[in-house]
Structure formats: C-alpha cells, structure tokens
Amino acid sequence: MTTVTDNSSLPHYTARSMAIHSLSAFAGEALALGLATGPVCLASCGPVVLPWMLVQPRGLRTHSTQLSLFLAARLAGYLLFAAAVWTAGSAIPHAWVGRSWLLGGTQLLLAGALFVYAAGFPHPRCARSASAAPLVHIGDSPHPRRSGAATLGFLTGINLCPPFLVAGVRAALLATLPSALIYFAFFFIGTSVWFAPFLSLSVVRRTPSLVTVARMVAVLLACWYGVSGALILMEKVVYG
C-alpha cells in the first residue's frame, strides 16, 4: 500500500533559503549566548579595560576609538581561536592537553603587556611626567596609545575565558569554517554590548591621583595574571 502525501501546503524550501534559515538560527544562538554570558566576559575583561580606559585622555572620541580597538583586537583573537578550534576538530576546550600551556602562557603575556603599558615605561611620556613631579604620580597619557588597546584586546581575546570555551565547543561542531567564524563573530557582538558602559569613563575627570590609581590597578592585575599564569604552568608541570 502506497501512501501519497500532499506537500503542496508546506512552504517550498530551496537550498538557499535553508542556508539562510540555518545561518540565522545559529547566528541568533551565538548572539543569545554572547548576551547571556556577557556579564562573565565583563568580569573577565573588565578589570583590564577599566584601568586602561582611565589612563587614556578624557573624551568620548578617544574612548570610543580605544574601546573599538580593544574589541576589534578581541574579535581577531576570537576568530583566530575559532579557526584553530574548527581546524583541530571537536572537544578541544576541555580535553585538549595543550590548553593549560596556552592559558598559562597567555596569562603571562597579558601580565607582561599590562605591566609594560600600565607602568608606562620605557615610553618617553613617563619620563616627562616623572621629571615634573618626581615619583609622585606616574602621569597620564597625553596621547592615546593604540597598540596598547590592540595588544590587551587580542590577549584577552585568546585568554580562553569560560564563555569563550562554551562558544568554542559549539563552533567546533559546526560543519564549515565560515560557519564557525560567523558563530564567533555573533557571539562577540553579543558580549560586546556589555562593554558599552565603559564609554561613560570618558567623562570622568582625570586627576593625577585617579590616573595613578588606575595604573597601580593595572600593575596589580599584571601581578595577578603573572602569578595565576605561573601557577597554571607549575601545576601542569607538577601534576601533568
């Protein structure tokens, strides 16, 4: 007995429309994941962004540029990782043996970058402010530094924070490399929304004390990342 099904009432799917549906579905999922895990991203990257923004000169334009650079570099880090994850295949985040090396190494690099940019040496502006008021305050930045925002953004991008790993697991399961990259890009947009409030720092008045405290915060965070990275590597060596 043959059953004849009438498909005339169902919508007619073409390969293109199915691809669009599929793309919008996983883009939506990535965006939702980014929005949902944004507070964790904020907690993870916020301590790096906050002091960095405070040592930049006041002004919405400067801050927008710096934040955009930070986020763009972070996206570059994300996409690089997405490509690596997809190329290497599934199950990288938790089972991958090199994860500790990458995490520990990245944290040490982040510590180094934070320290160099926060302490402000060997940049000439540090010497200038120090000569004006010897060792009293480290001095603010008369000119915004783009390389700093980009370096810190990239290093926080590949810092394998947990929301990033969650997105990594999902991206690794996608069929094509472009899908994995698109997934990460939308995930990035979702998390980036949470960084918008940092622009309000552009109106905070820069006093020497505030800038000095911001730089000290960055140095202390550098110490934290340094110790944390070293411990991760040490545990890897000791416990395997």
């Binding site: 895990t37 964790v40 907690a43 993870s44 938790h94 089972a95 924070c161 947990p162 969650v166």
Partner: protein, 166 residues
Amino acid sequence: MRASILAILAYTAAGLTLAAAALTPFLLIGAFSAGVAHAGLHIDPAYSGGTVARILARPGYNITVYQPVRPHLLQRVDPFVQVAFSPTGSLPARVSDEVDLDGDGQPDVRISFRVPGDPHARPQGEVVALNDRYRSFSMPGRYSFSQLLVRSGDAIVVRVPLNKAR
C-alpha cells in the same frame, strides 16, 4: 545666620553620633545584624555544598544527597555533588554504598570509607564513578572544595566531582 544654622546642624550630628554609640550594644548591632540575616543572602554553594535534593534511608543512618553545584563560570571550583552520611555515631566502621546522585533510579557512584574512631582524624576511602558523569578519586589525596571526604560536624561529607568534559 548661615553659620549658626550650620553649627546647630553640626552639634545635632555630634549628638546623634553619641546617641548611636550609646545605642550600639543594645540596639544597633542587633538591628543591623537582623537586617543582614533577613536580606535573603546565602553562603556560596561552593562552600556550603548547596541545597538538599533528597535523603536516602539506610539501616541506622541516612545519606543526604545535595543538588549538583555548578559554580559560576569564572570560579576556580569544579562542579560537584555533595553527599553526607549521618549521624557519624550510627555509621558502621566501614561504609560502602552505591548512591544514586541524580535521582534516575540507577546508582552513579560507589562510596567506600572507614569511619575513624578519633573525631579529629580524616576518614580514608574512595569514590568510584559508575558512569562517565562523575569522577573517581581516593582519599587521602588532593583535597579541594569539589573533591572531599571529610568529617564535618556530625556527618561524613563526600564531594563527588562532576566530569567537566561532559
């Protein structure tokens, strides 16, 4: 005029501060403490073990199974399930139990330990995972908030780590 108003306000504030000092042991500490106690706060489950899911009765003792604790994404504690054997006085010298942690009717882990006579001594034993949702371990070993076999009050508390790869 402004100066005298300010002075009146200043002395009023000083008087209020003195009144607060006098009331501190009798009223303020209690009031503030009650405020904190009733603020709906709870101790982080990574420390407290979370909320009780169910109690399994065994001859002479109970096994309290807690809800799985899945820490915050950046928290350095691994996810775990807490199980408490109590009261310690009624536990046999050696306990070996298969425990259903997720309530699906199937045992998930086998927990075996010796109950030391000395209340200050740590119990020794092992946890064997019966499926890949949990991780096995033995004690004495590496103690952490997600991997424990200790005496806590009138109970032997076991924390079984969840397998993160899942």
